[in-house]
Symmetry: C2
Subunit: 211 residues, 2 copies
DNA sequence: GTAGTTGCATACGCCGCGTATGTCAAATAA
DNA sequence: TTATTTGACATACGCGGCGTATGCAACTAC
């Protein structure tokens, strides 16, 4: 009846991660009592310290998992697009939309950086920036965009996206604000494209359609 | 010998603000013990709660003051420039450079948003975004830039700047990273300009000179 | 002079984190 | 099988930090 040992351990780890993720994502990191949400998972703080060292270590683990999920989602989006440029734009818009999800916004863009510093600096996290960089590099190789520093540009885009998401989420009319933000964002991105013949035509169409 | 009452009160308020600002800016909000830094100012937590309600209220007051200072600095920079466009670019670069100062970075861009939510949403704060918006509006009126949503664009620029600053400050080689970030930023901004005759020439020169 | 208000200090209790310690089951060795 | 060790948790304890209630002295108003 009882499952083998390794899976039991994996399950408790997963339960702790899920409980912490939910608590951090709803009430925030500082307001989350470790006693409370471990009890909610049918465990105690002892298990938590055993697996993750301390509260920050737990947050780190949560973030790492979420980052991986987000990276996968971005990859899905871009791979579905007909052209690389379209894939890139879709990726950026998808990034904003992910940043609108309360859990992601709170953990990845607010509490995470505040508690752990700039996450994008660690190894093995922030696959999102890496994904954006990669897309930009490919576009440059295709000659589709002007010559820019990929990583720097990816980071600027990342910053703009996350702040746009904050703006949207806290605005009185998220729908309207979201349209404005995405539109402005598209306009900025469009201008990365090389201004020659065909692309210029495409730019005109896209800038009108909006979201 | 003893000063009049109102100035004494103002002095204690100022002392508390300064002490808190220093503590928040160096060790961070969560790690700052109210007992410690009030004692450092020759006071106790009693004075603090009397004037600011609670720890968050104190942070709020600190941020409000810093925001006012930053807005003034930005205004200085832009008013010194020969043209409006140059003033705007200078303003943006100055914004990045301010975001590099550890105290500003920590309080305004990390702990502030984490503790208080999106600061730019409150009344009477975030003069910086207002300043950027204003510059963009004027440029649009001049016909110097393409037609974009000023506030949305200002917020994107704000987000890009602060994240760029985080990136720079945490990088191994801040000098080099700073050059890359500012260059990428300039490139992005340049593309807001209307691509007609004279401006196109100016773009070519600027994109080479860098910081 | 007295009553009320204001500016701060002192005292108290609670909560939350981290650590040290205990316990029991599974793994390994003899 | 039995003995020993290791690992996965739970329990117990102390400490620091926050918020609040209370105290007190100085100033103001009448």
């Amino acid at each position: 009846m009882s499952k083998p040992r390794p899976v039991m351990i994996a399950e408790t780890r997963a339960k702790l991660l899920a409980a912490a993720r939910h608590a951090f994502g709803t009430v925030g990191y500082a307001q989350s009592s470790m006693d409370d949400f471990t009890a909610g998972a049918g465990l105690t703080r002892g298990a938590l310290y055993h697996h993750f060292g301390d509260k920050k270590g737990l947050l780190q683990a949560v973030i790492q998992k979420m980052d991986a999920e987000m990276t996968a989602r971005l990859h899905n989006v871009s791979s579905r697009a007909p052209t690389r440029w379209q894939g890139f734009v879709d990726e950026c818009v998808a990034y904003i939309q992910m940043a609108l999800e309360p859990e992601i916004q709170r953990i990845m863009f607010r509490d995470g950086p505040a508690v752990l510093g700039d996450i994008s600096q660690w190894p093995s996290t922030n696959g999102c920036i890496a994904a954006l960089s990669r897309s930009l590099r490919e576009l440059k190789a295709d000659g589709a965009i002007v010559d820019v520093d990929e990583e720097a540009t990816a980071r600027l885009i990342n910053g703009a996206s996350s702040h746009a998401a904050l703006w949207i989420a806290n605005s009185e009319n998220p729908q309207e604000t979201s349209k404005r933000a995405v539109e402005a964002f598209r306009a900025l991105l469009e201008r990365l494209k090389k201004p020659d013949g065909e692309t210029a035509k495409a730019r005109a169409t896209i800038s009108v359609t909006g979201s």
